[in-house]
Amino acid sequence: MSQTLATILVQAPGLLTTVQDLGREGFGPMGVSPSGAADAIALRVGNRLVGNAEGAAGLEMTLLGGTFVFPEGGVLALTGSDFGATLDDAPAPLWASCEVKPGQTLRLRSTRSGARCYLCVQGGIEVKSFLGSASTHLLSGLGGYEGRALRKGDVLRIGPSSEAFWKRAVAAKALERLSPRKILRVTPGPQSDWFPEAVQKLFYANTYRVAEESNRMGLRLEGAAITEGAHGKMISEGVSLGAVQIAAGGLPIILFVEQQTTGGYAKIANVISADLSSLGQLRPRDEIRFERVEFETARALLIEQEKLLASEELILQ
């Protein structure tokens, strides 16, 4: 049982650790993008493992994890990428729940796989809600824990929970099916027909490298430039999550969770919903490719993914 006043002490914040839930949808008319977990699947599953609602707030760590002390103990689950976590001196499991005794320290290190690791605690992280969500929006300093990434010395409150501790783990087979992809499936973007056939062929044949300056707003890609079809700026219009826009210079930018809500670059493609979580695990210098699919296929893949996430076989207990 979690106490009502359980906390987490941030002993070391890691490179970029923020409070995230599934984001605030519906405020586009104010210019507010949803934000939320970069790898939403990892957060959803992590919450399931500790008995929370799927959209409870957890911690999103980036490339290098933090060190957290649990003075009152608690129940936690780590999901996403392997950050070499230990609980005191013992290895902490990934994609499984575990019990933390009062005073124990959870220490995470550098990633051994993808970009992000999630820490979910039973009861969720409690922060003041902004527009109905706990998610941090870094650029505008809104939401989350004081609108910013965590710092050493921060004290996070854990929400109340009446759940007992159950040892739960994600089934290996399900995990394999949910593993992040490097070949991103896309549907054509709203300006895809601005790009000549040959240019599109090149776009789908190219291997792109994720640039260092990528962040939660967007993933910048390096590789062969698209020289034809983008025609510089067009009339600004609403842009969707996962839009692949061809910026000045011909290099693609994939708009991500903290995206700007409108933009003026031509979009050649859009990452399908089922592959959006994969974007959250891409690290700088990772190599990716795009694969074009039909809208019907994109929908079928999303339905299949949701079916797996809702299935009894996802979690073993």
């Binding site: 949808e25 519906g26 405020f27 586009g28 008319p29 104010m30 210019g31 507010v32 949803p34 902004f130 929006h137 650029l139 505008s140 300093g141 809104l142 549907t187 054509p188 973007g189 709203p190 601005w194 025609h231 510089g232 700026k233 067009m234 009339i235 600004s236 219009e237 609403g238 842009v239 969707s240 999550l241 996962g242 839009a243 700007q260 809500t261 409108t262 933009g263 003026g264 979009k267 859009n270 990452v271 399908i272 919903s273 809208f295 994109a298 929908r299 999303l302 339905i303 949701e306």
Partner: protein, 255 residues
Amino acid sequence: MKTSAGASARFERSSDQSFLIYFEPQGKNNRAPDQVGTSAGRPLQSQITLQANENVRRLLRLLEVEPIVGVRNLHPAYCSLLVKFDALRWQHGELEEKLREYLERLQEVKLPDAREAEIPVCYGGEYGPDLDEVAALHGMTPERVIELHTSTSYLVYFFGFVPGFAYLGELPAALVTPRLATPRKKVPAGSVGIAGSQTGVYPFATPGGWRLLGRTPMAMFRTDRDGLSLLSIGDRVRFVPISRERFAALERERS
């Protein structure tokens, strides 16, 4: 007889969970306030843009008053509205049909009366680092730039980019200026800039490529205020020049 706005609207699939609805043909040669080239005074398509934007605001209003279950977000812009939906609930075809019913009713939508808002701006100096260059580009004095910028009221076309960033237009033709070749890494919050024939205020410190004329002490977006944003879509905005002393006084009042 007026043709219905719905008949001319064009739907484009922007992702597997969104649509773009255009109220005018989007083409490579269309120009809007944000993409005016280098030569000032080129004829603008402002009339088309105004009409289209009014339709955007009507559809937005209708969807806010009578929300469609499973429509998750709306991104208005100059001539288009992006509609994001729950792909498990809707397919493009079915939702387009539903939205076309809404489009048929646009003329009956009553838009809220436009409010008049005034934004005090301290021009030039450290607050408006591009004022002198803009003046030089147009062969006028900085005073004339300020006079022109404050001479007219601007429409809030939509909010975009970041929370509370209002796209305002249109600038007097003599003030139409291309954006900076290289955007600044950090533009201070409150900065008032121009780009093409649009103008706007940066609500937060963000990167930005607009040319900065001045700064306002007003908070454009605040979480401790009803409505959050100082402005609403469809408002008319006028900039009012203030002294450095007044700027400081207003800033103190705010905190």
